[in-house]
Symmetry: C2
Subunit: 360 residues, 2 copies
């Protein structure tokens, strides 16, 4: 029986994606494959809402795309303003620091949104080369208001690993220069592939990359060349088949309808938790619909891993625990892509209620 | 109709691999998945012939594993002796140089094997921290005799991307400290995953990695921890299902029988080319059975891309062209994993003969 994956990702795969993954392989220089890759890049431009030529699936997980961004934009002394309110901005800070960036942090508590006025002020004062924010923070369920940012002259980087395909994201309209995501969240593709996009302004300020594998200028010669394709590394053929199948499905439904599905499922989950007397972590205005975070009642915290194990083993439903400062304090419920529906919320809440009754 | 992939990789997938890829996803922290990951790592130890604890599938292509090796072993000024006789040792040199390594090259012509006496001499003279060799050179079809190396006090790195699973490779017996491979060659799994192994001696000399994504000490806390698994990045679930299916199949056949299949298919191909009057690039003693390189007769070189296109389009067979200095001069024929059989050689040669007759 298929497990229902309602954690922070991976989410369940669509049938189309599974069929795509299991297609016979073809060569990475076969014109048939290059056409599939081109179509995939076009649909990625569509879902990012960007015209950026440099838009493609990177052969790595979402964290690999985070690193590729750092490797290509940062060298010793590069000034970066970064908003920090969760595990994934801390991860970016760690990557940037390893490369010698001068990191200026604008902090908000975990579970609270970034204060965009503070961000804009920091940009005005420090005039950083890079401004780096997370859109949907997977560790807390916060949706940061990246659309209100004034980037000034900086290159604006946004981590949309969990947000892409679940809430509106307008790369070009919002002045975002670099965006990256992962396939295992709202796209319902397995982990291991990372959509990424660089604006022409970002491509103009590429630094000499310490990384050959993540060197965007080299990768672009294979993936995006109008002329002959220069082999860089072997593209992950079957994962790209899966990604294309997913993007086609989302396009056939329409992004606005997909966003509404996420909102409706989330609202239904909020109302269920409110009825149960559980407190949600994030203020309503800043909730990421595809990832709801809820405080575990004090008396259940010592049993929380046990409850999650039983949910997985007895009810076939996976949810996520907390990370970092929120470990053992919260649960993270993902309703991502095809998983964002009323039936899944009912299944989860019924199962959880049964388990909690047994605990009492 | 499925294409027959007789280039330098990807190779065709087995049915078991395709079924593995299309399984429903499960969580990367689900005990069911961690057991699958453990079994995969055990079978990788078996195929590498190593007891190294740090042996796992890296979330990247084979070139990503090459980079992970460099990122973890090299810092500014690290002395590396590297044998260079093809594109993939040149690639490693490029990666090492970006990280500030002091690279000492021991050169042989493309298509010739490395001179192991020269390598051993360079190690004795320069006392490098790292010795880096390619086992099966995918750009030339040369099998370098890494088993005859005297590494002295250096950390011995071997690139076995194309050799693993096609010819004998004895990591521990041959004193190899770091080995890495790719899944799309003799393992018949799609590209995008890279088996890698580090000896305890190599783990003791890890450098502070510029890369967070490829930081082996962090990855090991998730993949190889005996206690709780610390999340690093989301493991590529379905690709690992595919890899496990492949390794189980190879184990059920037995490595020695698999090697004999590769040898037999290669010998049959050599005899066919000899009959056609084509010259093989590599001396018999140093041929990589799973990748045969053959000179394109002078009068056909101007038409060689056209011949390969027609082979692909009209006969559904992919073969590879030359790289670097051998571009337009050679063809590369892969008989990898399940593709290493007599029937495939006959299909290829019959098709090629038909095309060449038309050319004359």
């Amino acid at each position: 029986m298929e497990k229902l994956l309602l954690g922070p990702g991976p989410s369940n795969l669509t049938q189309e994606v599974r069929r795509g993954l299991s297609q016979p392989a073809i060569g990475h220089l076969d014109p048939e494959f290059l056409a599939i890759l081109d179509e995939t890049c076009d649909l990625l431009r569509w879902i990012f809402k960007t015209d950026n030529k440099v838009t493609f699936p990177l052969t790595a997980s979402g964290s690999g795309a985070m690193e590729a961004t750092a490797m290509n934009l940062v060298e010793d002394g590069t000034k970066v303003v970064i908003g920090i309110n969760g595990a994934f901005s801390l991860r970016a800070k760690e990557m940037l620091s390893r490369l010698g960036a001068q990191v200026i942090e604008v902090l908000s508590p975990w579970g609270s949104p970034l204060d965009i006025d503070e961000i804009n002020k920091a940009v005005k004062i420090h005039k950083p080369q890079i401004l780096w924010l997370v859109h949907g923070e997977t560790s807390t369920g916060v949706l940061n208001s990246v659309e209100s940012v004034k980037k000034e002259e900086s290159i604006f980087v946004v981590d949309c690993v969990t947000s892409l395909g679940g809430v509106d994201f307008r790369m070009d309209e919002w002045g975002i220069d670099v965006a990256f995501s992962g396939t295992q969240k709202c796209l319902n593709v397995p982990p291991g592939l990372a959509p990424i996009s660089f604006s022409s302004q970002a491509m103009e300020v590429l630094k000499p990359s310490k990384s050959w594998y993540f060197d965007l200028s080299l990768i672009a010669e294979y993936i995006l060349s109008d002329g002959p394709r220069t082999y860089h590394h072997t593209a992950p053929i079957n994962m790209i088949f899966g990604l294309l199948a997913s993007l086609k499905r989302i396009k056939s439904i329409g992004l606005d309808d997909v966003f509404i599905q996420h909102l409706n499922a989330a609202e239904f989950l909020y109302s269920k938790f409110e009825k149960m007397g559980f407190d949600l972590v994030v203020d309503r205005k800043f909730r990421l619909p595809q990832l709801t975070t809820v405080y575990i009642p004090e008396d259940l915290r010592s049993k929380e891993t046990n409850i999650r194990s039983r949910l997985l083993n007895d009810f076939n439903i996976e949810i996520g625990g907390g990370l970092g400062v929120l470990a053992n304090k919260i649960w993270r419920i993902g309703l991502m892509g095809i998983n964002a529906n009323i039936k899944n919320v009912e299944l989860l809440i019924d199962s959880l209620n049964q388990l909690l009754n047994e605990c009492n």
